[in-house]
């Protein structure tokens, strides 16, 4: 049985559009009408299935076996040919999908979570109600991190922690959360004066509860879009770091395939380069289309469209 206060709160001060069934229906309806967005969703789903196939051991398990000749052309045995060591390029490309999703998911989830929490804290304590030092400290930290050229910073963190399998993940999480943090902070500053938040405070709910139960759910539209963008950025960054030798340690990724291909291209062998580039391009295209569609669907300014 619901309490009278809760009933009052939800009826008198409805949260944002996404909170309600009607809002969710509208978002999904807009998403369904966005053909490019749907294409993105299909692409991402296909890649997700590929990575699950790798995870469960059904696909790409022979990525490290060097049973072919050097730089073999496409054949029945090696659909996309082999690399310098005689490893199957197709298997390596498929296995790299898992690497991409593993890094993309870990980095996007954790950086978004970190950005949401710190952004919410900063936004909440921006007023005179709390203490401004929290907001000031978090803003200062964001400013410091943002002032360092992104790739330089990520490469430096990855370099410093090299040898540790999660070095690259940490490097990206440490740098990616700030954008989410800024957006969430602004959103929290906006919604904290809304009636449902004021009511929560009026009935004496503690700040963490208000933030987690009432404030953060209302930033979900930002978090979803930011997470999808962080996913894309994480995959791209992984490719760059792996290309520089600072990426995955004991696995294979498209970045590593591209790094290998620098020597192969010189010798006139393009299979590694084209395969890794194509896979990367298609997945990033899919994610970008999906992220754009999500952004449009959640944008209240386009609600009437």
């Amino acid at each position: 049985m619901k309490t009278p206060q809760a009933l009052t709160l939800s009826r008198v001060f409805p949260a944002n559009a996404f909170e309600s069934d009607k809002g969710r229906g509208r978002v999904w309806s807009k998403l369904r009408r966005d053909k490019a967005g749907l294409l993105g969703l299909v692409i991402v789903t296909v890649f997700l299935l590929l990575s699950l196939g790798v995870l469960f051991g059904w696909l790409g398990q022979g990525w490290s076996i060097a049973d072919g000749g050097r730089w073999e052309p496409m054949s029945v045995n090696h659909w996309l040919g082999t690399n310098l060591l005689g490893q199957d390029i197709f298997q390596r490309a498929v296995f790299s999908t898992r690497t991409a999703f593993e890094i993309g998911l870990a980095v996007s989830l954790l950086s978004t979570l970190l950005g949401a929490l710190l952004g919410a804290l900063a936004g909440w304590y921006n007023t005179k109600l709390g203490g401004n030092w929290v907001d000031g400290s978090i803003l200062w930290l964001m400013g410091v991190l943002d002032s360092i050229p992104f790739y330089l910073f990520v490469a430096a963190v990855a370099y410093a922690l090299q040898g540790w399998p999660w070095a690259m993940h940490v490097a990206m999480i440490v740098t990616f959360w700030t954008t989410t943090g800024r957006l969430v902070r602004a959103e929290v500053m906006r919604i904290k004066s809304r009636g449902f938040v004021l009511s929560s405070r009026a009935i004496g709910l503690p700040v963490p509860v208000i933030l987690i139960r009432h404030v953060l759910p209302n930033t979900l539209h930002i978090l979803l879009v930011q997470a999808s963008m962080a996913f894309v950025a994480a995959i791209k960054t992984e490719v760059i770091l792996s290309f520089l030798g600072l990426g995955v340690q004991d696995s294979v990724s498209w970045g590593m395939m591209l790094a290998e291909s620098t020597q192969e291209v010189l010798a006139g062998h393009f299979n590694n380069f084209l395969t890794a580039s194509f896979m990367l391009f298609i997945l990033l295209l899919g994610f970008n289309l999906l992220a754009d569609a999500l952004q449009d669907a959640f944008d209240p300014r386009q609600a009437s469209l």
Partner: protein, 604 residues
């Protein structure tokens, strides 16, 4: 008539212009062929001889400064040749005292460091001073190891505060031109050390005048002087005061049968250095270096392995593609060193163990790993199949190399490897986790993956072989010097053509942080090394070297080895025989214009 009168002067004018153009061409030919444009795949770290610790620096230093000795330009195997020294040293009967006279009338280049900017005479005292610098902590020198614990009084001089006024018993200038070196015990490699850039002769005035800037402001008496130097390249111009020593093919060890194709004969009797200007470009990126060479921006390149398919018509025999052969000379030469993968004998999981039974099992494991290693495939994939695989630690370029040595240790034998594992109780679940150290470059990672696939063939689980990557070679070296790496692949370039230089890599007292990265310690090996280290080259010494080589092979301390082959290409317009080995940069002075261009110059 009017028309004709107009056309005649026009024709004359055109002819005159044509003649002018022809004159310009001959001038540009002369200019272009008095310049030699060299490429290097790395940059010098420092041009101060005491700190010139990489091969790129050594290349330039031996041209900017004088060393007492060098190797003959064309003789192979390498033979010592006096450079600034007048003759080979006089060595006392006990092999402890070396007396060397330097050539008269050799001057340092004119420089602000000298009074009135006028270069002064090079003296024996300069040599003494230059060696002393290595033992002065303020120099932060990197070549002291060559003479450490070798010369009487030199280490004490350092311990007593490196006072340059203090004389050293074992390192003296008897007069302006005579050097005397007294050794603590015989050191047959001493003269070889005097060919290296580390031993180059520096005037004290320049050290005091430039201080740390000596790194970029060399003041020597070599065949060239520095015009400019930065991270992209260096330009050297002929030292017009360099001593007049006519070039003699015979004296330099010319072999007409193998070297006549390089067109060096027309240089006979001329005085080196032949080129007015040497431009050296430091291009680390293979593709960029190769493209610059093909575009005609460079006269010399070491072809990247990735280009071998495009460069070579056939591998056996090595034949250059006809379109390249038209324009370029080529030489395939073995490196003066080798690549080997050492087991860390200090690691009880794979090396020495206090329990004799475990110790024996570890040895069996090492031997099984060695037998599973496929040298043929390693050579084929990473060295285009033209590297030379050899058993043990005496590489083919060393005079003591034994071409008839038993090759069992480098032939893959999976059956024997599996039997070894089985007979010593090594099963998949009992095998230790192997950590292979390397710097994170594409090639090294691929080598690791290949190693793992080799081991998979004897049932070593893939999940038990792990990469231990390092961001830079410095970090990697630090780790293996701290004995933190289980298996490490190392390339060693010999400092002089004597197998002692590679054998010492396994001498017990040289264990890390010394050069014995395997931390190998075998009493019999150590005894043989001690006994041979004071012997002059002789069949008896060679026999001892070979015995040490066999001990290392039988103990399965290292998976060794391969000497890489380099394909060197250079412009046919340049008459020279380049060298990336012991002679190194000394060959610059002998690089001259090709015969055709030389004729042009003579006619002009």
């Amino acid at each position: 008539m009017k028309n004709l009168s107009f056309r005649v002067p026009l024709l004359v004018l055109l002819l005159a212009l044509g003649a002018c153009n022809g004159g310009d061409q001959s001038t540009s030919t002369e200019i272009s062929h008095s310049v030699y444009r060299h490429s290097m795949d790395g940059a010098p770290n420092n041009l101060d001889p005491a700190r010139s610790s990489n091969i790129y620096a050594n290349f330039l230093v031996v041209n900017l400064y004088d060393t007492l000795y060098r190797y003959k330009y064309l003789a192979r195997p390498y033979q010592l040749e006096p450079n600034l020294a007048e003759n080979l040293p006089e060595i006392s009967a006990d092999g402890l005292t070396y007396t060397i006279r330097i050539k008269p009338d050799v001057y340092f280049i004119d420089d602000l460091a000298f009074p009135e900017s006028k270069g002064r005479l090079v003296s024996a005292q300069d040599f003494v001073y230059s060696i002393k610098r290595h033992f002065d902590p303020q120099t932060r020198a990197q070549g002291a190891w060559l003479w450490q614990n070798r010369i009487v009084g030199l280490d004490d001089w350092k311990a007593n505060g490196s006072d340059y006024k203090q004389e050293i018993t074992g390192l003296r200038a008897l007069d302006g031109r005579t050097i005397q070196i007294q050794l603590i015990s015989p050191y047959p490699q001493l003269v070889h050390t005097l060919t290296q850039g580390f031993s180059a002769i520096v005037p004290r005035e320049a050290v005091e005048y430039y201080g740390r800037e000596l790194a970029i402001h060399p003041v020597g008496s070599g065949p060239y002087r520095l015009l400019s130097f930065n991270t992209a390249g260096a330009v050297m111009v002929r030292n017009s005061d360099f001593r007049q020593e006519p070039f003699s093919l015979e004296n330099e060890g010319y072999d007409p049968a193998s070297q006549s194709r390089y067109g060096l004969e027309h240089l006979e009797g001329l005085t080196p250095p032949f080129m007015d200007r040497i431009e050296v470009e430091f291009i680390g990126e293979d593709a960029a270096r190769w493209n610059a060479f093909i575009a005609g921006e460079l006269d010399f390149v070491k072809a990247p392995v990735s280009q071998f398919d495009q460069v070579l018509e056939s591998r056996n025999p090595l034949v250059l593609k006809p379109e390249l052969a038209e324009n370029f000379h080529f030489q395939a030469t073995l490196e003066s060193g080798f690549v080997h993968t050492d087991f860390n004998m200090d690691d009880p999981r794979i090396g020495y163990h206090p329990n004799p039974e475990t110790n024996a099992r570890n040895k069996a494991l090492r031997c099984a790993i060695s037998k599973a290693f496929d040298w043929e495939k390693r050579n084929e994939i990473f060295y285009y199949g033209i590297g030379q695989v050899f058993p043990g630690i005496i590489p083919p370029v060393a005079p003591e190399f034994n071409p008839d040595q038993d090759r069992t240790s480098i032939i893959r034998d999976l059956k024997a490897a599996r039997e070894l594992l089985k007979s010593h109780g090594w099963t998949a679940d009992k095998l230790p986790d192997l950590e292979i150290g390397f710097t994170s470059s594409v090639t090294e990672r691929q080598m690791f993956e290949q190693f793992r696939s080799f081991m998979a063939d004897i049932g070593y689980p893939r999940g038990k072989i792990h990469p231990l990557t390092f961001a830079s070679y410095g970090d990697y070296a630090q780790a293996y010097l701290n004995r933190e790496v289980m298996l490490m692949t190392i390339g060693w370039t010999m400092d002089y053509p004597d197998a002692e230089n590679t054998i010492q890599l396994f001498y017990g007292p040289n264990a890390t942080p010394g050069s014995n990265t395997a931390n190998y310690n075998n009493e019999e090996f150590n005894r043989l090394f001690r006994d041979s280290s004071t012997m002059l080259a002789s069949p008896a010494r060679t026999e001892m070297y070979r015995k040490m080589n066999q001990i290392v092979i039988e103990d399965c301390v290292t998976i060794s080895g391969i000497s890489r082959k380099m394909i060197l290409l250079w412009n046919r317009d340049i008459a020279m025989l380049p060298d990336r080995s012991f002679l190194g940069g000394h060959f610059f002075r002998f690089a001259g214009p090709g015969k055709a261009n030389f004729k042009n110059r003579q006619e002009e």
